[in-house]
Every structure is written in C-alpha cells, then in structure tokens.
C-alpha cells in the first residue's frame, strides 16, 4: 500500500518506507507533526507570558509588589516549560501504557528520550515568541510571527526532501537540528544541546530587553514604525 503513494507525498512525511520500524512509525505518525501542534500553543502562551499581562494592565500591579523583573521573567518561563513538559509527558504516557501490547522493540525510557528533541524544539520557538513579544507592539503579533515561522519551518522540512536547494535552506533553520523518530533509538545529544543553547541565547536577549524596558499601561508608548507613521 505504501509503495502506491506518490513519491512526493511519501517524501514530504519523511521516510515512509521505514514505517515498519518503531522509529519510522514514531517519526512519521508523531514526531513529524507533534511539534507543530503543541508549538502553536507554546508560541501563543510564550508571547503572552509578560506582554499579555502588560496589555491587560495586570503586570503593573504585580510588579508593584516585591517581585524582581528577573524572578518574574524566569519564573514564568519555567512554568511554561513545565506545562509543556507535562503535555509531552501525558503524550508519552499514552504510548508507554500501550507499548507492552505492541511489537515495538523499544523501551518506555527510550521512548521518553524521543520526546526530548520535541521539548527542545518547542522551547526554542517559545523563546523566539517571548523575544518577539519584547520588541513587537502586541503579544498577538508576536505569537502570530513566531507561529508563522514555526509553520514555515515545518513546511520547509517536508518540502526539502523534494528539492536540494530547499534542503540547503532547511539546514539554516532550527528544524535541521530536530531529530524525529530516530531519537527513540539513538538520541543525538549534539543537535539537542544546540537547540537548547539557541533557546537560552534568545531567552537571555528577551530577559535583557525586559529588564530595560518600560512597563506599558493603557497603550502608553506603543511601538510604531516612525517612517510609516510619517507617510
């Protein structure tokens, strides 16, 4: 049946011919689109972590209490990463419970390791959304921009298998570091740490910006492109 699929379709979803292996099945049916689905939630939540409260005016009062900006920033980021981890953990649990009833020759622990690249990827796009929320005029615009980049990167990862030039472009994006189903057999720590390191760099920049910026109230000092305004 798989052999009857158009080659382009098979290439888009990865190496479909390896679907009779655990890593192939996990990669095609799960790791290829799970980061996209959870990623939309993470981009939206990360963009609103601070900017959302700022737009609602509630950040003003929270920061009037003895809470430092650094503690607020990292505390909220940690909460988001824990929430994201719990979502992935629940997803893993679904696989782990049914694992004994399948022919998959993979342990529950190895399956869990397969979620680490996803978690790192989500962290990277979440960090990007948070950074964008520090520089763009609204949390919604930051979430939309980060989400669009995530979707674009996901599409590129599928199309790159069909075109060598696109593969070159993909190599410049975070998805090139994302290990799909193969991670449950042999987790590649190098790309994983590279994703984590990139996320930390983006977060450090977002934190630095948050420490230096004014907390807005009621649209005060909203961002604008001066050149466009004059036009």
């Amino acid at each position: 049946m798989l052999a009857s699929y158009p080659p382009a379709l098979m290439a888009f979803f990865g190496d479909v011919m390896t679907m009779n292996t655990p890593q192939g099945y996990f990669g095609v049916y799960y790791a290829s689109y799970m980061p996209l689905i959870v990623g939309i939630f993470v981009c939206s939540a990360a963009a609103g972590l601070l900017a959302g409260d700022e737009e609602r005016g509630t950040l003003d009062l929270a920061l009037a209490h003895p809470v430092g900006r650094t503690a607020l920033f990292w505390g909220r980021w940690l909460a988001l990463m824990v929430a994201t981890g719990l979502i992935l953990l629940l997803a893993w649990l679904g696989w782990a419970v049914t694992l004994p009833f399948t022919d998959f020759d993979v342990s529950a622990v190895n399956l869990l390791l397969g979620y680490l690249p996803m978690w790192a990827m989500l962290g990277l796009f979440g960090a990007l959304a948070l950074l964008l929320s520090m520089v763009l005029p609204s949390a919604r615009l930051a979430a939309t921009t980060a989400g669009a980049l995530l979707v674009g990167n996901w599409l590129l990862s599928g199309l790159a298998a069909l075109n060598d030039n696109l593969q070159l472009a993909l190599d410049l994006t975070p998805w090139a570091l994302f290990q799909g189903g193969e991670a449950i057999v042999a987790l590649a720590w190098g790309p994983l740490l590279a994703l984590k390191g990139s996320a930390v760099a983006l977060l450090a920049l977002a934190w630095w910006l948050f420490l230096r910026r004014d907390i807005r109230v009621g649209g005060e000092r909203s961002w604008s492109l001066r050149g466009l305004r004059r036009a």
Binding site: R56, G57, T58, D60, L61, A62, L63, A64, H65, P66, V67, G68, R69, R212, D214, I215, V217, G218, E220, R221
Partner: protein
C-alpha cells in the same frame, strides 16, 4: 535611614517618543507627611509615580524612595511601598479574596484579619468575582491591596477615583490612620477639594514640571469662586458695594451671580441683611485655578 526624606526627586525627565512627559521634576516629601500631588490630566502625575516604582525608567534626573534608588533596589523599595495604580486592572476571573490572597503572598507578612477589617470598612464583598464588580468596587480592592501590608510609604494614584462620596470619606480616614501609624502618604489627584480635605502639603505639577509646593488652603484662598444667590426680592442698588473680593456682580431680577476671590466671610455678612432663598457656590476646577493664577502670573 529614617532621617532621609520619604521621597526625593531631582531633575526627573521622561519622554514618550517626541512627547515630554516630565521636564525636570524636583520634589521632596518628608517622612510621615500626607502629601497631595495635584495636576490636570496629562500633567505627569502618573509618570512620576511609576518612575518611583521602577515601572518606567526616567531619561534623566534622580529619584530616591525611602533613601533607596528605585532602580538599583527595586525589590527593597517595593517591599516597603504600597501602590495603587491609576489604571487599576485585576485578573477578572477570580474573587476579590483570591486576588488579595495572591497579592498578600507576593508581599508576605500580611495579616488576613486586617484585610478583612479594611474590606469591612469599605463595604467590599470579598466573595464577589472581580468581573462582576463595578469600577468603584474594583477600586476598593485596589485600596485594600495597597494598605494591607501597612507599608511605610503609600503611593496612590487617584485613590478615590470611582468611589461614592461616603466611601471617599472612608478612604480619607484610612489614609489619616495610616499616617497616624507612621506611614507617609503620597497621593495624586486632579480634584482640588480632595487635596484640600486631607493633604498637609501639596505640589502642583503642570506640563511635566512642579509649578509650586504649598499649603492646600492657599489654593482656595487664591482661587475665584462663583456664588449664585436667589433672593426673595431684588437687591437694592449698591448693596454689595465695598464688599471685599466680590467682583463682577451680575443681576437678573432677584437672582445674583457674584465672583468671589478668597474668603466668603464678607459676602455672607453683607447678604445677611436681605432675605436669601438659596445660595449656591461653584468651586473652581483645577483648570480654572491654573487659568486664574498661573496663566495670569
């Protein structure tokens, strides 16, 4: 150190893009003062207060709160300050009690019995969801959260905004009690009568600069009020001649419209000789005070 002023501001400047909000604010508030910060909308009251809490960063100048730099020691400053923002926003999907418990946890050391006492005095139902509350009731939640930790310094941005007159009086009493307990109270307002009622000193801010710091009673003395008088019969010609400070007398039958500058005593005594049916005084708005005093000067 307790000898340092509660607030010390020198040459504070702040601009939002091309708009200068503060153009060099200089102000000093002593410990234990009940200080009014008066100015029309957009004068720079909120910007000044938010600079003091490091919510926004000034472009220039220096500020000290309880002897501390609000930027370098932001957490230490906020631990000792109770703040009520001018634009109060509280997460709507919770009750007042839950919101206040959250703020109490952020601050630490809050006696819940005191929170209940404050809520009782302001007739605030702690079980009511924030989203169902009127502006006045939300403002009460804001007042309670500012006062509940018994802070050394209260920074209140228009504390009685949205409250009915009875509750305004209760807030005035609470601020007086906080001051009696040793706290410094710094509150902004654009209503002269409010500042006059409770403040010991008042600073007037206009166009991002402190125009003057004075005794609040001086505000009223120097301002012009309009007095409408309805008599049983028209006043004889020349009846008010010589009455000090009564100017621009307009007659319409038995009705009079008189402008009075300063105290009303002379006018009241002059009118006492005639049958007065009604007497109504219009207090000047802050803008009118600016027009009659600062613009003329």
């Amino acid at each position: 150190m307790a000898t340092q002023p509660a607030l010390s501001i020198h040459g504070l400047t702040k601009a939002y893009g091309n708009v200068a909000a503060l153009r060099g604010v200089d102000l000093e508030v002593g410990r234990g003062e009940l200080f009014g910060f008066l100015g029309p909308n957009g004068a720079g009251k909120t910007t000044t207060i938010r600079c003091l809490l490091d919510l926004i960063r000034p472009d220039g100048g220096q500020a000290r709160v309880l002897g501390l730099d609000p930027r370098a020691d932001a957490v230490a400053v906020r631990a000792r300050v109770g703040y009520l923002p001018g634009e109060l926003s509280i997460e709507p999907n919770q009750t007042a009690e839950r919101a206040l418990r959250y703020f109490a946890q952020l601050r630490g050391g809050v006696e819940w019995a005191f929170v209940r006492e404050l809520a009782g005095r302001l007739q605030l139902d702690l079980r009511a969801p924030i989203k169902n509350m009127s502006k006045g009731n939300k403002q009460k939640v804001g007042v309670v959260q500012a006062l509940m930790a018994r802070p050394e310094l209260l920074l209140l941005d228009e504390p009685t905004s949205g409250l009915d007159p009875l509750m305004q009086q209760e807030v005035y009493r609470l601020l007086g009690e906080a001051q009696a307990g040793g706290a410094t109270v710094f509150f902004s307002s654009h209503i002269i009568s409010e500042v006059e009622a409770i403040a010991e000193r008042v600073a007037i801010i206009r166009d991002g600069r402190i125009a003057e710091t004075l005794d609040p009673h001086d505000l009223l003395r120097r301002s012009v009020r309009r007095v409408r008088v309805r008599l049983r019969e028209p006043l004889p010609e020349g009846a008010l001649v010589g009455v000090l400070n009564a100017t621009d007398i307009q007659r319409d039958g038995a009705n009079l419209l008189v402008q009075v500058e300063g105290e009303m005593d002379a006018l009241i005594k002059a009118l006492a000789a005639y049958p007065v049916i009604d007497l109504e005084t219009e207090r000047p708005t802050l803008e009118e005070v600016f027009l009659t005093h600062y613009v003329e000067n």
